[in-house]
Structures are given as C-alpha cells and as structure tokens.
Symmetry: C2
Subunit: 304 residues, 2 copies
C-alpha cells in the first residue's frame, strides 16, 4: 500500500464522520438535515480536506480534533457548489456520482436552499472548530479569521462564483473568442484551482502556527502554488477524461481548443511545476517529508 | 424631525456608500459587480444595519469605520435571501421594489450566482472590517469570530434557510395543519426575526466591547429579545399590509389564520414586550438613551 492509499484509508472515514456529525448538529429539522447529508455524504473523494491534512502530515503536525474540523469546512463549500452547479438553470445535471442530483431527488427549491445552508454552514464550522480543542492546542483567533477570509475570497465573487459564470459562457459555443489564457486563468483557475489552493494554503498556515517547524516565508507561497498547479492539472485531466461528453454538450474545453496532445503537455508542465514546489520546500524545511504530496500528483495523468 | 428620521438621514447614505465600496472592491469583473450592485443598491430601507448602529448610538458609542463596515454585512445576507427567494423555483417574483427582480433582469443562473456571491461576501466583509481601524479601536478577534458564528447561525440551516423552507410549505395551502405556534415559531421567527435579532444582538456585543458602559449581562438578552419581538411584529405588519395579495397567492398568513383583529393583538403584544425590554435596559444601564429604539417600534402599526 502506498503512503497515500494508507493515508486515505485512515483519514477519509474520519473526514466523513466529522462532516456527518456537523451536518446533523447544524439543523434541528431532521428532514432538512437528511437533504444536506444526501448532498455531502455521497461518496466524494474528499480531495480538498485530505490535501490540508496531507500538508499538516508532511510537516509532522498531528491532526487534532479542531484541525480536522477546520479542514472539513472546504468540503461544505465544494458540496454546495456541486448542488448549485447541477441546477436546471445551470448545468442541468440529473445525476451526480451515480445517484440523482439533489434537485432531481428533492426538487429545485430545496436544492437551492440546501446549497445556501451548506455555504453558510461552512463558516459556522470554521468559527466553531476550536470548541473541539479542549485538551489540545487551539488555533489562534487571528488564524481562524484569516481562514474565514481566505475561504470567502476563494469561494466568492473573484473565486468559484466567477469561475462558474465563465464556465457557463463556455457552454454551447456562446463565446466566440475562447483563448488558452482565458480558459486557464478565467475558468479553470477560479472554478477549480481556487479551492484546492485554499486547501494547501491553510495546511501551510496551520502547520506554521501549530508546529513552528516551517520557517521560510517562501514555503507558504510554494504550498499555495502547489495547490494551484495541482488544481489546474486536475481540471485539465477531467477535461481529457470527459472529451467525448464535452463534445456532445458543446463545451470548449482545453483539449478541444488546443488538441489532446497540447492539453496533455500543459497538464504535464503544471505537474512538473508542482513537483518543483515540493523540491523547493524540501530544500528549505528540514521537517518536511514530500512523499505524500508527491503521490497526490501521481493521481493525475497517464499512470492512473 | 424625529430622532430616527435624523438618524436615518445621516446613516442610510453612509451604509449605502459602504455597501457600494465593498461590492465594487469584491469583484474584478465589472459586469458581475454591476449585477451585485443592482441586487443590493435598489432602495432598501437598511433596517438591519440601522438597528445595529442605533444600538451603538443608544449607548453613546461612536460609529467608527470598522463598526460601520461590520454593521453592513447583514445587508449582504438579507439581499442574497431576497435574490434567491424571488427565483422561479421559489416565490417566482418578477418584481422587487418596483424594478425587475435580479433573475428577471439578468437571468436565472446569474441570479443564483449573484446570491451565492453576496452570501459568501458577507463573511469576507466581517473578516476584513478591522482593516478600516487604522486610527480607531479594533474590534477584538474573539468578537469578530463571535459575529461570524452568529451570522452563520441566524442565516443558515436553523435560521433564514429553514424559515424559507417552511414559508414555501405555507404557499398554496400545501400544509393542512398550520397553527399559530408553527407560523410564529417555525416561519416568522427564522425567516424574519432571526436576522433582525442578530442586528440588535451584535449592536449590544459591540457596545459592550467598545465602550464598556453596558454592564449587566441581562441587557444583552434584552437587546436580542427586542430585535426578536420587533422582527416578529414587523413580519405580522407585513402580512396585515399584504392581506389581499396573500389571499390571491393562497398563503396562510397570521391574519388569515386567526383573523385581522387577533393578528393585530399579537403584533401589539410583541411591540409592548419590546418596549418593556427597553425599560428593563434603561433601568439598569445609566448610559442608555432609549428614544431612538422606541422610535423604531413606532414604525410599526396603526400610526404609520
């Protein structure tokens, strides 16, 4: 078993347990709580919380209950975005991970409100994470506010939301002047890379605060950029895998725009840059073990 | 000119200016920023931010730039809720304050995303408010986190969101067992009173922190309850005013359920309780001037 497989086997169930506990606690209405659970606990890979925990683990920081809870907030945001993206007025997807999407199962108005409640709940989760720090080090209030600011920035009008606006312009050949730079910087970056770079970014910030073993300021930037490169490569891989489906749906994805070979080159360049970030960090930080994050990069590409 | 009219004349333009500044700053996309501005800057009364500022003023706390910004975050949440409530899948309102609603003007998908961005942005506004505290007292980090927690609770799955779920059940006579208690506690309280009590609640918390003139713990509860009573009375008045329209739309509002006279009695009882809260506070807190908050109560009822 690889490090990553082992890591996933340990932490994915714990992430799911934390999500379930908080989802049930946040609503007194059992029926509504069940809708929220349906939207979130449907077999996702938990890539974003796992990345935060992986960064902590790479710096040998132990994942205390408050850190676990903090790391799961991004999954509330990711889940809300899937529920809203699936709506009839948006991508109109009736299926999500092999099951009826939230609006297909519970109706459109409930899906809008489930998404709203998940987005709102993400900030409640962050603001209440330290309640689980009875016998462990608390995350400082200053850091909690920084995390809330980062989450709202990466998710909001300059982040995921504008990414979805642009992604929809990219459906049905509505936009005639789609360029390589526009696709990468104005669609993929805000829609996908933003939340993934948030996950590695706060992993770095929390490692610095909790362990004080991460010293060089440039390391923070490398961790953010690792997530950004990984996020873009992840999205390009998704488009490579969905090439035929996007063709049917008239979506101008990168492989359609520049050809499959060029899209793979871009993906590989991004993965190479992400690996270089890990090299940079390893050269500076004595406490850093890069192996787990290297294996995240192995998830993408030909070897999968 | 009454105290309140004077207060509104001073602070409503400042609230609007703060909202506009932050709405434009939060989005690099001019077209999307314009949609957000359309949703928010359309002539609202700014009741909720004004209530927070009125509580501060009642305790003679000066409204510094960071406090003004903090007070406006609730208006982002209120505005998002109107945009989403108006959607075709929800109340399907094509008009809002005499202008086309956001989805009528910009399309349904844009309206969903404008709402999402406003909700997300509210938390960014709170997390960044102290950036405006260069030469004035900062709000403590602990207090900022408390405000974020309260805002997410009152807006989320146990607050406004579940209020809207219940309100929709109350359309078209879908629910056969509508009771007085259910309407007040499960519809009006979370849908309307929650955010209004949030506004008075944080007004009290901020007064306590910034001026240290507010000493008795029960005063905090009275301020919260003042907002709660006021919010319920405000909603009942709205239903009294919209009686004919609700009749047409088959909404079981309080006047339909118990009759107009009984609905007015409930409203008056709530206003009387709210006035009693102000009496309680005035008896305890030497620095408290109740006149402005009394005039908020005068906004509701026969005298309007």
């Amino acid at each position: 078993m690889t490090n990553l497989k082992n890591f996933q086997a340990i932490w994915r169930p714990k992430i799911d347990q934390q999500l379930q506990t908080d989802l049930i606690a946040i609503s007194d209405d059992a029926e509504f709580a069940q809708m929220m659970c349906y939207a979130v606990l449907n077999g996702g890979k938990r890539l974003r919380p796992l990345l935060t925990l992986a960064v902590l683990s790479s710096f040998n920081v132990s994942v205390t209950p408050n850190l676990l809870k903090l790391a799961t907030a991004v999954e509330w945001v990711h889940s809300y975005s899937l529920v809203h993206d699936d709506l009839p007025a948006m991508d109109n997807d009736l299926w999500r991970r092999g099951q009826p999407s939230v609006h297909a199962k519970f109706g459109e108005s409930s899906a809008i409100l489930v998404g709203d409640a998940l987005l709102t709940g993400a900030f409640q989760v962050v603001s209440e994470a330290n309640a689980l720090a009875a016998n462990v080090q608390k995350v400082s209030d200053e850091q909690v506010i920084t995390i809330i600011r980062q989450l709202s920035r990466y998710a909001g009008a300059n982040g995921m939301v504008i990414g979805q606006i642009h992604d929809m312009q990219n459906h049905g050949h509505q936009k005639s002047d789609v360029t390589y730079d526009w696709l990468l910087n104005d669609v993929y970056a805000p829609k996908t890379a933003a939340l993934i770079s948030y996950a590695t970014d706060i992993g770095g910030k929390l490692s610095q605060e909790m362990a004080s073993t991460l010293v060089h300021p440039k390391t923070q930037y490398d961790l953010y950029q690792f997530g950004y490169d990984f996020g873009l490569a992840f999205q390009i891989q998704d488009d490579i895998d969905d090439f035929d489906q996007d063709n049917d749906e008239a979506v101008d994805s990168l492989p359609h725009l520049v050809g499959m070979a060029a899209a793979k080159r871009t993906r590989n360049d991004l993965l190479a840059d992400a690996r270089q970030r890990l090299t940079n960090i390893a050269q500076r930080e004595a406490s850093f073990d890069r192996q787990l994050l290297d294996e995240f990069l192995d998830l993408i590409g030909e070897s999968v």
